[in-house]
């Protein structure tokens, strides 16, 4: 049975190592015939971002906290067969931004340069393309000059 683990399962396993989420991931990581589990690049990126940047509340915790790389290392190393980028499935649709998550917030010209590979100087020289890429930005058609 092919099963995709989402971020909720990863957090459930991280916070409760005797719970069902940990058990499911353990079965997948051991390559049991009963469960063929996988994690996409988007899920991996979201887990890492929340763990190190945004913070997350564990069961019964009143305050969200972040984790250091040292604290995350045993979890990531043990489940590396599911979490290693080379072992991750690529999300084919929609939020397929996992590998580009670090580009969020960059000026559009910078973003386009990385994504398209078009000449950096030419893109950044266009002032109409230098507003930051954020979810709150309202799209307005840039004036072509």
């Amino acid at each position: 049975m092919r099963v995709e683990f989402d971020t909720t399962v990863l957090w459930g396993a991280f916070h409760s190592s005797s719970g069902p989420c940990f058990s499911l991931m353990a079965l997948a990581a051991q390559r049991t015939p009963v469960l063929d589990g996988f994690i996409t690049d988007v899920i991996g990126a979201e887990f890492w971002w929340r763990a190190t940047q945004q913070g997350v509340k564990g069961p019964g915790q009143r305050v969200a906290r972040t984790y250091t790389e040292q604290e995350l290392a045993p979890f990531l190393e043990t489940f590396e067969v599911l979490l290693e980028p080379t072992n991750m499935a690529r999300a084919p649709l929609s939020r397929s931004l996992g590998q580009n998550a670090s580009l969020v917030g960059l000026p559009l010209g910078e973003f386009l340069h990385v994504v398209t590979g078009v000449d950096r100087a030419a893109l950044l020289a266009a002032t109409t393309l230098s507003f930051p890429v954020t979810r709150s930005s309202r799209w307005t058609s840039p004036t072509c000059t």
């Binding site: 190592s17 051991q30 564990g58």
Partner: protein, 220 residues
Amino acid sequence: MEILSPEDRVVLWRAAIDAEGARRETLVRAIAKEIFESLGALDMYADQYAQMTIESLGILDDAGLFASDSLRRCLEALHEPGGGVELLAAEVAGLLRDAAGIEHLGVQRRIRAIEMASQWREHLLVREPAEPGYLSVADVAARYGVSTQAVYKWLSKQRIEGTRGPGGSWRIPAAQFQSDTRPATTRERLDALQAQLISLHEGSDLPGEEELGGQLRAED
């Protein structure tokens, strides 16, 4: 040497569940002794295993898992030929892993539960299978760190292949567990991670002063 009949073991188990205080402790130790008498089949003769058996049942009792029906069934079948003691060892290992999730036991005892689960499991894994090329329910449970009930469920839902032998016990072809050649995590690493995560989250429900202060300043 068999001391009690299967029926007597269940009566003793029920009496232990109904008892309280010192009497309950005595009855649990009596069951532990009964189990230890059988552990020779797993090369667990030494006194340390007698102590481990008592400690394991003690943790299961404190975790509220001693009264589980799966343990009763294994106690009943303890001396049955064809793997009674192996089934019990696998079940105790699985229940100890469950006990590691019971927070009121405290961090040290939860970690100890995982350590003992690994020890029970190792004794199942090192022995030769009774029939080459086939595994028992206890073998599969020990290999993947799950309860024997989980393996029975896999069999009944045909998630894994297996056939019933003449005595009613399951014969599970070992080859099906070697077909996936992708890199895999070992059960030892998972056990170590469980203990590390329990330590990491120890007392994490209480935010530190600095953390709480930062939160309050942010709310202002």
